[in-house]
Structures are given as C-alpha cells and as structure tokens.
C-alpha cells in the first residue's frame, strides 16, 4: 500500500536529480546529483521487487563508478564550467527529436494500456532467479557483453601504457621525459578558482 507513493516520490527525486545534474555549474555538484539519480533508481528497482538488481546498482554504480567520477574531479581539480548559449544544431535536431521520442513512448504506453499491470514482486527478484536468467536463458548475450567490457579494458590498458621508448629509457635510469625546463606548477593554490 505504501509502494505506490514511495515509487512516485523516488521517481520525482530521480528526475529532479537528473535536471539538477544539467543545471549545476560545478562538476562535483553534477557528479553528486548523478549519485542521487543512481541511488533513487536503486530504490525504484527495490520497490518493483528486484532486490538483487537494486543492491548491485548501489554497489556498482553509486558506490564504485561514481566514486571514481568524484575522485577524478578531485584529482584534476576541475573548476566551474562555462556554459555556452546553446548551438543551433541542437535546437534544430533536438526539439523534433524530443517530440518524436515523446510521441513514440506515449503511443507504446497507450497501445498497451489494456494489459494488466505487473504486480509488485512478480519480476525476478531473488538472486537465484536472476542467476538462472543470466546463466541459462540469456547466456550468449551475457558472454558477449563481457567480451565487450574486456575490449574496453584492453583499450584502457593500451591507452594508459607507456610507449616502449620511454620504458627503455626508464630502465636505464634516465628520466622519462628528455631534460627540459621544469614546469612551473603552483601546488600551493589547490582549488583557488573554486
């Protein structure tokens, strides 16, 4: 009985977080809004009866991915964004796009309006059911997705690894960069432009 009000409240929080994400000027505020979006999505999953997915959502997205976002923002010491006034392409393509998307969604919803709503808890919630779906019914898509992620990891390793020449120079005990004038870094003014 409490499910529907809670579902609506967290839906609103989710949308508000998403809007705030776009409006905020400082990257850390945007990142934290995204955390709110992820967490409220987890609550929505929980209310729909998918408790395992909800827990994984919190652990993976809110707890790990977003922590790395915040970490990067802290590390780069990113300042406030400068917003442009908006591009004409976005206006010309975006507004019709939103209209078409809205029409499609409402058409689908209206077309299926006579079907019975899915009762809460009817979806596969317990870990065992999810595991059966993942490793039995949808094994091939699951494995293909994991290969996709593996490719992404390999790409990251290639991008992050140092070129052979530098590695060889480091082994000989020379500095990685050829001797240049040391860069002037102002370590003391951490976050001054905030």
């Amino acid at each position: 009985m409490l499910h529907l009000p809670l579902f609506l409240i967290f839906g609103l929080i989710c949308v508000a977080g998403a809007i705030n994400l776009l409006v905020q000027k400082h990257p850390i505020n945007s990142a934290l809004s995204l955390v709110v979006v992820m967490a409220s999505l987890a609550v929505e999953y929980l209310l729909l009866g998918a408790e395992f997915v909800a827990a994984v959502q919190v652990i993976v997205y809110a707890g790990a991915v977003m922590v790395l976002f915040v970490f990067t923002i802290m590390l780069l010491n990113a300042g406030e964004e400068e917003h442009t006034k908006g591009s004409r392409v976005a206006l010309l393509l975006g507004v019709p796009g939103i209209a078409i998307g809205g029409v499609l969604v409402s058409w689908t919803v209206l077309r299926h309006s006579n079907t019975a709503p899915v009762p809460i808890g009817a979806l596969p919630g317990p870990p065992k059911d999810v595991a059966l779906l993942l490793f039995h019914d949808f094994l091939l898509p699951f494995e293909i997705t994991s290969v996709l992620i593996l490719i992404a990891i390999m790409g990251a390793v290639v991008l992050a690894s140092r070129p052979e020449a530098i590695v060889r120079r480091l082994r000989r005990g020379e500095p990685a960069q050829k001797a240049q004038k040391p860069e002037k870094r102002e370590l003391a003014v951490v976050g001054k432009e905030r």
Partner: protein, 357 residues
C-alpha cells in the same frame, strides 16, 4: 493491537536500542583504544574521570558539543557541512541489517489491564515478515561502498592541500581494497548458497565455522581481515590521516562536533566490519546455550557481542603494534597480492564446491 502497529512499535524500539548500544560501543571503543595503547606503551591511559577513566568518553562527548564549531571562510560550505553527516549516516545505517541473535520470543503478559504480546521478533532491526533479508550481505557492501563519499568530499570541500591529499588517498585506497574485500567474501556465499546473513550463520552450525573451512574459508578470512583494516583506514593502512605527513588528512579542517562525527564514523565502521567478520567466519551468535529459557534467548546475543569485542580488541592491538605502510607499498599490496589471492581462492573454491556437489 494490530499486526502493523506491533511491527512499527517493535521496529522503533529495536532501532533506538541498537543505535544506543552502537553509539555506546563506539564511545567505549575509543576508551578501549586509549587504555590498550597506553598499556602497550607502558603508560596508564585515562584514569582521572571515574574509575579506570570509564567516564572519559562522556567527558569527551560533552567537550565536543561545547567546543566552538569553526566555520572556515575558504571552504565550500554545502559539502563541507554535508561530508561528516554523510560519513556518519552510512556508517550507522549498515548496522540495521546485521542479525545479532536468533529471535526474541516473549509470551503474552499483562501490564495492569493491558495484554501485551505474545511478541516474537528477530534480533535484527530491518527484517521482512520471515525475519530475514535475503540480500543482507549485499546491502552492507553497498552501504559501506557509499561511505567513501563522506571522506572524499570532506577532503575536497575543505579546500586545503592536506585535506585534499588525505581525501584522494582515502578514496583510492577504499576503492582498491573494496574489490579484494568483496571477492574474498564470495567463497563464503558459495559455501552457504545465500546472501542472507542468517542463512550464512545457520550454515555454520555444529562448530562448522567458516574459519575452519580449511583452506578456503581461512584464506578468505585473512584477505577479508586485511582489506577490512584498509577499508576502515586503520593502521597499518591509515595513510589518509598519516599525521606525520598530512597533519590529520581529510579532517584537518574540522573541529568540534563535525570532527567528532568523523571519529564516530570510523569507529562505527570498525564495529560493522567486526560484526561482519563474526557473522561470516566465526559463527555469529552460535555458541554453547544452556540454562532457563530467558538465558537461552540472551546467551546467543552475548556470544555475538563477545566475538565482536574480540575483533575490536584485535583492531586496537594491531594499530599499536604495526608501523604504517608506504603509499606505493599499500597500493601494490592491494592490487598485486590481496586481489590475485582472493580471485584464486574464489576460483578454487568454486571448482571444489562444484565437484563435491
């Protein structure tokens, strides 16, 4: 009384009781830490306030409340205020899903003209109608992974170099060791075939504790224990607040109650981690049970608290015995030793359990 009213009243009573016990435990683990560290260094520790300095935590609490709460001009205010709240919130929340005993069964009794009961409720704050949560372990992992934000944001919002470095170190370290910690627990889940903390404890009956599930449970326990020290930023992994390098790390710029909140969060996290170690590896509340019925209900809770106390003592003991890691050693140890060990243990356990079945 209707079932819902009873449920609500019982939940409120349980929440208040558990939070009271948790906060008291937090305060007295600070006392324990000071006392044990003093003994290790051949000193007395707190002795002035009350017998054996037992009222020291109370005095400290009053001091924290009455100290001036400095609001520094150069901080980013919203996050500077939110960070300690986030830290303390997530560290206290996770206690809600921890079961600390079988269940409390009280037959109906009368207070004047009122008939109360019969009451039957599990020793656990949050539980469904069956008295259990089937993803309890995952919820705890999720909440502890959210706890990083408190530390990271405190470091960033303070706008000071020591704080920022402490916050960066803390978040890097917690994210790294969380992986080893999570993977080290999977063999236990495989063995007990459940994420439910109650089911995991029930699978350890007849002294089949997971610590003696040689060698898989034992390896998992040591990987868990070490990563748990790193997760809670305790020595030998207390790089985020290394006082010889960073003044105090992420809470350098905090004073009064806000500083105390970080302190509370750290010790509450220690309690959570100790509870988890007890539940997953040391049989939770299982232990010899005898005597009249009220004793049979309370003894499991006593065994649970005793085991948790042992882990808290171990924490303090380790902190005042071992020196601190260097930062590159810390990262190398986490990624090159603990993580491969946890993964290998997981693979071998999975193979063993699959072949046994």
């Amino acid at each position: 009384m209707s079932a819902t009213t009873t449920f609500v009243i019982l939940s409120i009573i349980k929440s208040v009781a558990v939070i009271f016990v948790l906060l008291t435990a937090v305060a007295y683990s600070v006392w324990l830490e000071r006392k044990v560290s003093a003994r290790i260094q051949n000193r007395w520790g707190p002795t002035r306030v009350g017998p054996f300095g037992l009222l020291q935590p109370l005095a400290d609490g009053i001091k924290f409340i009455f100290k001036e709460d400095l609001m520094l001009p150069h901080v980013y205010k919203p996050l500077y205020i939110a960070a300690p709240i986030i830290a303390v919130l997530f560290s206290i929340t996770s206690i809600a899903v921890i079961p600390f005993g079988n269940s409390l069964d009280i037959p109906a009794f009368h207070i004047g003209s009122w008939t109360v009961g019969p009451i039957s409720t599990p020793f656990q704050v949050a539980a469904d109608s069956a008295g259990d949560i089937n993803i309890g372990l995952l919820i705890i992992l999720g909440i502890t992974s959210m706890g990083v934000y408190g530390v990271a944001l405190a470091g960033w919002a303070s706008n000071s170099k020591y704080s920022l470095l402490g916050g960066l170190r803390a978040s890097a370290q917690m994210v790294s060791y969380e992986i080893a910690l999570g993977i080290s627990l999977i063999p236990i889940m495989i063995k007990s075939e459940s994420f439910s903390l109650r089911a995991i404890v029930d699978a350890q009956r007849h002294l089949q504790w997971n610590i003696v599930y040689v060698p898989f449970g034992t390896i998992a326990f040591f990987v868990y224990l070490i990563s748990a020290y790193a997760e809670t930023n305790r020595t030998p992994f207390d790089l985020p607040e290394a006082e010889s390098e960073l003044v105090a790390g992420y809470h350098t710029e905090y004073s009064a109650m806000k500083f105390a909140m970080f302190f509370m969060a750290e010790y509450a996290n220690m309690v959570t981690v100790a509870c988890l170690a007890t539940l997953l590896f040391f049989g939770g509340w299982l232990g010899p049970v005898f005597g009249p019925s009220w004793l049979q209900i309370l003894l499991p809770v006593f065994w649970f608290c005793l085991k948790v106390f042992f882990f808290m003592f171990l924490y303090v003991w380790v902190r005042w015995t071992l020196p601190r890691f260097r930062y590159d050693q810390l990262m190398a140890f986490g990624w090159k030793v603990l993580l491969p060990m946890a993964i290998a243990n997981l693979v071998v356990t999975a193979l063993y359990e699959a072949l046994k079945a």
